[in-house]
Symmetry: C2
Subunit: 349 residues, 2 copies
């Protein structure tokens, strides 16, 4: 059995109360007593039981992370940021995956409540407003990437409009004048927001993005591969394409190669997600919008810690994106935020 504070007290020849104070650097006592206590604890390999401590303190220094639909490509970066933010307060993360199942979700919420977590982070793969995770929960909740449909909740997500703006600005700076958009299903808020952003930015350059040059489809390579060719057949003047993710961009790059168009000379390409593994391997490498998910995770963690401390900030906050420049659209970036590297993370897969 692991030694308890009583063992320390006994061996050090003091009372339990003194041992406690000694170990926690509280109260006042003769330095030699404290030293003796600490030394004894070290000798016995004493490790205070945090669960016991949380009984009195009321804090468990544990937060839940509930993902609503599995761990995806976005999870690692987000998780890294969350962990780093929380580690500042030596909080640990309890993981739960609801797998699109409301019953599972409920079950996990209960389990987390029974463990008296200090807070909860809810994440999911879409930025669309989603039903909140429960009402009157006994801990603060922050939604990460996904946003709660209830404006009284706290959500932190990506500014997809900004991402859309960055993408087309990069194309425009490269000199593109007839820009098209190949993207995912319009049922995604992210997809719609990016279109909105793209149009706004183009308008500032006196350019436009007519409906005829926007193609919605699945978020897949296949989509990019087939539709890029149709698009250029219909409208051979297109000289730049904003792709809704890097898979589409890759398909588009291959499709352009197949019809003998050079990238970026004839048609420039900008993707989204900056999934380096894919974007950097495309021929040529694809410039891409980065959602700064590590930073998102940090902000989420910090927001949750603040909520736990009583400072709640209801509403949705949207963090800006960056642009990762690569050969498919090699223009200077102007004042736009530039992505450089995954800094403190082990990159990708």
């Amino acid at each position: 059995m692991a030694p308890t504070i009583r063992d320390i007290a006994r061996v050090a020849g003091v009372s339990v109360a003194t041992a406690s104070k000694g170990l926690n650097g509280k109260g006042r006592m003769r330095p030699e007593t404290r030293e003796r206590i600490v030394q004894t604890a070290r000798d016995l390999g004493f490790r205070p039981n945090r669960n016991a401590r949380s009984l009195t303190s009321g804090r468990t220094y544990t937060v839940g992370l509930l993902t609503r639909n599995g761990y995806g490509r976005f999870t690692p970066a987000l998780l890294g940021g969350v962990e780093d933010a929380l580690s500042a307060d030596t909080c640990s993360l309890l993981l739960c995956d609801a797998r699109r199942d409301a019953v599972r979700e409920r079950h996990y919420i209960d389990a987390l409540a029974a463990r008296r977590v200090d807070g909860l982070i809810v994440t999911g793969r879409e930025t669309d407003p989603a039903p909140r995770v429960g009402r009157d929960l006994p801990f603060p909740v922050v939604y990460a990437y996904t946003v709660s449909a209830d404006p009284a909740d706290t959500s932190v997500t990506v500014d997809d409009e900004h991402g859309g703006r960055l993408a087309v600005r990069q194309l425009a700076r490269y000199g593109c004048r007839r820009i098209a958009h190949l993207t995912g299903p319009p049922s995604y808020a992210a997809v719609r927001d990016r279109v909105t952003g793209a149009r706004a930015a183009l308008a500032e350059e006196s350019l436009d993005l007519p409906d005829s040059r926007v193609v919605y489809g699945p978020f897949s390579e296949e989509m990019g591969f087939t539709h890029v060719r149709r698009l250029l057949e219909r409208d051979p003047e297109i000289d730049g394409i904003f792709c809704g993710n890097d898979q589409i961009a890759r398909g588009a790059a291959d499709g352009l190669a197949a019809i003998g168009r050079r990238v970026p000379d004839d048609v420039a390409l900008v993707g989204f997600d900056n999934w380096t593994l894919l974007a950097a391997s495309t021929r040529p490498a694809v410039a891409s919008v980065d959602m700064n998910l590590y930073r998102l995770g940090r902000v989420v963690g910090e927001t949750l810690l603040a909520s736990i401390d009583g400072t709640v900030t209801p509403g949705i906050s949207r963090l800006p994106c960056s642009i990762a420049v690569r050969a498919s659209c090699p223009a200077p970036t102007g004042d736009d935020p530039v992505w450089t590297s995954d800094a403190p993370l082990v990159p990708d897969a």
Copy 2:
């Protein structure tokens, strides 16, 4: 504040002990009393504090998951299996990412010990024997995917040799007779094991894999793209290639297309990892060895639960792979285990 068992007892008009027994279905008491207690608990939204309970029970029903070098592409599937296995015992997962840093690792181990986790799972991106996580830890440890250098520890990993056998058998069944291997750095045990397996399987078919047809390099598309062409220049008779992962396979497919070789008619291809997002999008789609990581996770979880119960199984156990058949090598699979789908998981990214 959340109601405590005392609140329940008071409201239900019984003692705390009776309330406890009533709620846990223990002891014997008048059914109506039990009913009253349970009903009161429901009314007050009582949620027993598991931390308090674990003080007496000695069990926290929490296990740590320590990843040594970040969350990769393999993590989600593994994690899913682990979660499912542990949920059978209503265990929760505490997440830690050591990020290749021994100090961080030590720190996390301490934190987990302080939380009195019932057990620990250690995972990492390589199957190479790695230094064990600590000595004389106060809880059982199971290594997942990564294996401990100490044979007294319990490790569960992938049978890469079997994977190598499956890959070349699939090629052989398609009719390939001059098989080559494009793979990652030989510093990886996984890389060497797969070569061993491939050679063993080929020998059974009276075929071989001479050193001249094995190329080591980085695990990247670029590697496949450039080396497949050199390889076929040197040895134009090659009719099948076993690729060390799906990125290499993809590069190889593109490289073959670039020199006008048809896949699979001229050269068949089998990859490794069965990373569907990549493998299924390659033109043509790439057949690939699947490591059954979800199942690995389950076995790891079950093994850990057994260890917690006192049944330890030291040593390394290696689980077999499956083969996912796709257009790049469309042969019947014989008796080999076939991959069908990610079953209970939300697939990929």
